[in-house]
Structures are given as C-alpha cells and as structure tokens.
C-alpha cells in the first residue's frame, strides 16, 4: 500500500545572491520558470510550486507534463522527500526509488565492481543484499572482465549499462523517473526495455516527468500538467495530452 497526498503544497526558493529589485524587474518578464516575488524581508523568492493538491494511490502511473521550469523536477524532489514543502503538507507513504540520476555516486577511478557496491549502498541496499545480486548485475551489464577495471576506462555506453544494471535492481513501491531510461546499443536496449517494464509493473506508484507524447500515452494512466508551478490540468492521458500537445 502506497499513498501520496499533497495538500496546498508550495515551494519557495529564496535566492540570496540576487539583488531583489533590479533582478526582479528583469526576470518578471521571462515566460518560463516559476513566479518571482519577494518575501517580507525583501529577498527574491522563486515560487517553484504553488498550491498543489492531489492524491496518488496504488496503481497510479502519473506523467508530469510541462515546459522547462514548470516545476516538474522540483515536484519530483518533493516526492523523493529531498525537499520539504515551504507550506502545506506532503504525505508520502511507501519507500521511494529514484531513477533520476542513475550515475550519482559513481566514482570513475574505482572499478566496476566497487562501483556496484557504492551505487547500491547509496540506493539503500546493504552489502549482503548487493553481494547476493552481484552476479546478476554483472551479467546484466554484459561487462565481462571489464567489471574489475576502473570505470574511467569504460565507454560511456558501458558506464551507463553498469549504472542501469545496479539502479534497476531495487524494487521500490514508489518509482520516480525523469524521462524513460534507455541505454546501450540495440541488443541492450531491448533487454533494458524489458527490465524497465518489469520494474514499472512491480511498483505501486510511478511518477515520470516527460516531454514525449508517446511515452505518456503508452505508460501513464493519469497526467498532471504543470504550468508556472501550478497544476493546469489533471486527468486521463488522452484528454491532457490533447490539450498540451494540441490535437
């Protein structure tokens, strides 16, 4: 059972190194991004998200649509409990897995094997859990003997294959993604696709930020359209994508 319940959630970023007045004037005309304002002490504040209220339940496959700076990434960070709302309440039940930056924590000087432990550890796996899955990860990544070489000797494709193989080993109840993960050459892509579909199937709630109409139509059963930090539309994929991308 997983549940995400947001009530009137706002996120304000204080910008300390900006000079309030002059910058405000200049930026207020920018079309993208959140809304700029200032707080009682005259600091510049970017309101990244404003008054979000929604509930996500088991089985929800949510697509986040919106222009750059509409608040998609901020919302994903709120969902992963990295940010706490500036006001309002965000209730999140269930353990969260994030596939937003699968290379986070990878050390190029360390070997592939060491990096499996590093990356796995950061994702919250214990050493014994990783040891148990080690062979599976190595086999999936198809690195062979390269797994004992430093990552810096890898091609970028190999690097991503390893990161992908470790990162998708977790089975979180709530899965957060920024665009669909697709790595490797043709053969690997197919395998990765299967692994991703399994992963998505096994999670209770999926939230994925995307700019792709096909992806949203294909994976999601609900779409939130964010604009300037607010929910502009919340509904089934067909209706919202038609409104967002134009019919």
């Amino acid at each position: 059972m997983s549940l995400i319940e947001f009530k009137n959630v706002c996120v304000d970023f204080p910008i300390y190194n900006a000079n309030g007045r002059s910058l405000k004037k200049r930026l207020i005309q920018v079309a993208t991004g959140g809304q700029l304002g200032s707080d009682e002490q005259g600091r510049v504040v970017v309101r990244a998200l404003e008054d979000l209220t929604f509930t996500l339940r088991d089985g929800d496959r949510v697509g986040l649509l919106g222009h750059n700076g509409a608040g998609k990434s901020t919302l994903l960070r709120l969902l992963s409990s990295v940010y706490e709302p500036s006001s309002g309440t965000a209730l999140i039940e269930g353990d969260i897995g994030s596939l937003i930056d699968i290379s986070l924590g990878i050390d190029p000087e360390a070997t592939g094997r060491e990096n499996i432990f590093l990356r796995g550890g950061i994702l919250g796996m214990t050493k014994s859990e990783i040891t148990e899955k080690l062979d599976e990860i190595i086999e999936f990544s198809e690195l062979g003997d390269f797994v004992d070489m430093p990552i810096r000797t890898y091609s970028s494709g190999m690097h991503l294959r390893l990161a992908f193989a470790v990162s998708t080993i977790i089975k979180p109840q709530i899965l957060l993604m920024d665009e669909w993960l697709s790595v490797g050459d043709e053969g690997f892509k197919h395998k990765a696709e299967i692994r991703m579909n399994e992963l998505v199937k096994s999670t209770n709630i999926l939230v994925i930020a995307s700019h792709s109409r096909e992806l949203v139509m294909h994976t999601c059963n609900r779409v939130l359209w964010l604009e300037h930090g607010r929910i502009k539309m919340d509904g089934d994929p067909t209706t919202v994508t038609a409104a967002y991308f134009g019919a």
Binding site: Y16, V82, Y83, E84, I100, D101, E109
Partner: protein, 266 residues
C-alpha cells in the same frame, strides 16, 4: 518549537547512525579516491606530515632552545591532532555543500554526510598517528600507561568536533562567506594554541589568556597530555565537557530548526 526542532535533529542523527555501513564505505572511498594511482597511497600524508614535524622540530627546537626529548614528541602529537581537528572543522563548513549532488537526489539523513567527513578524517588520522611512536623511539621517550587516558580524551574531543562541524555545516550552507572566515580563524587559533610552542615557555600572565581562555587548548590537552606523560588538568576536562554539552544543545536546536531548509540553500 524548541522541543520539536530538537526532536527533528535527534531523529535525523539516529537515522544517520543506522546507515553506518554506507557512511563507512563512503568515507573509505574518499580516502582511496584521493590516492588512487599513487604507489604509497594515503601514506603520502604521513610522509608530508613527518617532514613538516621534522623541519619545525629542528628550527623551533633551536629557537626556543628546548630539549628535543621533550619538544619533538610534544610537537609531533600536537601537529597530528591539530591537523585532524582543523580539517574536521574546515571540512565541516563544506560538509553539506560538498554533498549537494546526493542531498538533492536522495533522502539520505543529512547527518550522514557529516559522519562521512569525520570518518574520512579519522582514517587519515590513523595514517598520521604512525609518526608518533617513531618520534618517541627516535628520542628515546617511553610511552606510559597514562596514554590510555587519551582514549576517552579523544572521544570527548570528537564529540566537540562533531557539533562544531554540524553547526558550521548548516551555517555555511546558508552563508557562503563563512568557510573563508573559519579558515582564517583556524590559522589564528593554530598560533594561539600551544602546538609549535610549549606552554612552559609562556610568562605567567600571558598564560592565563592564551591557555585558560582558549577552548582549543583544553580540547587538545585532554588528548595530548596523556600521550606525552602528563595528566590533563581538571580544568581541561571540565571545559571540554561543558563545551560538548552547551555546543550540542545549540547545534541540535539550530540543526533541527534549519534541517529542512538545507536542501533549498544548496
């Protein structure tokens, strides 16, 4: 509010200590990463520390006209401990800033980043401390049973360093000028604290200001004195204990209050 924020701080710290395996691994990784592809690895630190102690020992031993058997062990352990203390405080400033990538992606308890930094420096201290027995051997000064007292002394010093690092980590995430100020202050404290000079060289009146009013001296003494065959004074213990108690109280309140803001400040 006060109770609430202390509660937040304590629960974060407890959650962080549960992730000790991760902290341990990342701390090791930091040390290894720095010295990968070098033959001697972290022992380069030991060597450069040894060279510095040797040089300062010879020069200042001459200037102060101190007997080498007393001065060299005093200097060696002082320099080794000071390098640990000042690095923990200095890196405490960037404790959260340096972990920005992780903090903005994964909800790992924030105190874990401070623990990682301290663990990394304990490992480096472990490499540097090798110099001390060598110095003792070189000047023919024996290590007494008294040295065991430095273990609780070290734990007390660690307790103090941890709250300082935590507090500075929070403040520096918000005020980015602070790390520079702390760095210069550390430089000043280094000269004010008897590390390169022995307290016995001070005239009586100056001693009152430079020793009794210097918290760094007390913290240093509870670890250092037993190792050079002296007992730390009661004042040393009480000041260190008092600082730990008051310091943690302040750090917990500040940390609990601003913990949720740290991700926003980065």
């Amino acid at each position: 509010m006060r109770n609430g924020s202390v509660g937040i701080a304590v629960s974060d710290i407890i959650a962080a200590t549960r992730r000790y395996a991760l902290v341990g691994m990342l701390g090791w990784q930091d040390v290894r990463q720095r010295y990968r592809r070098s033959a001697l690895g972290p022992f380069w630190l030991t060597i450069s520390m040894g060279v510095m102690i040797g040089t300062i020992g010879v020069v200042f031993g001459q200037i102060f006209n101190s007997p080498m058997q007393e001065f060299l062990p005093f200097l060696a352990i002082g320099m080794i401990l000071w390098s640990f203390m000042s690095t923990v405080i200095g890196e405490g400033c960037t404790g959260f800033i340096a972990a920005e990538g992780i903090i903005k992606q994964l909800p790992i308890p924030l105190f874990a980043h401070i623990m990682r930094m301290i663990w990394r420096n304990i490992l480096i201290l472990g490499h540097n401390i090798v110099i001390f027995p060598l110095v003792l051997l070189a000047v023919g000064k024996p290590l007494t049973w008294l040295a065991l007292i430095s273990i609780p002394g070290f734990l007390l010093a660690l307790l103090n360093l941890t709250w300082i690092a935590l507090l500075l980590g929070v403040l520096c995430a918000r005020y980015r000028d602070l790390p520079q100020i702390v760095a210069s202050l550390l430089q000043v404290v280094f000269y004010l604290t008897p590390i390169m000079w022995m307290p016995s060289l001070l005239p009586q009146r100056a001693g009152l200001y430079l020793l009794d009013l210097n918290p760094a001296y007390h913290i240093m003494s509870v670890v250092r004195s037993p190792l050079i065959g002296e007992l730390p004074t009661a004042t040393n213990w009480w000041v260190s204990l008092g600082m730990a108690a008051i310091g943690w109280a302040v750090a917990l309140v500040v940390y609990g209050r601003y913990k949720r803001r740290i991700a926003y400040w980065l």
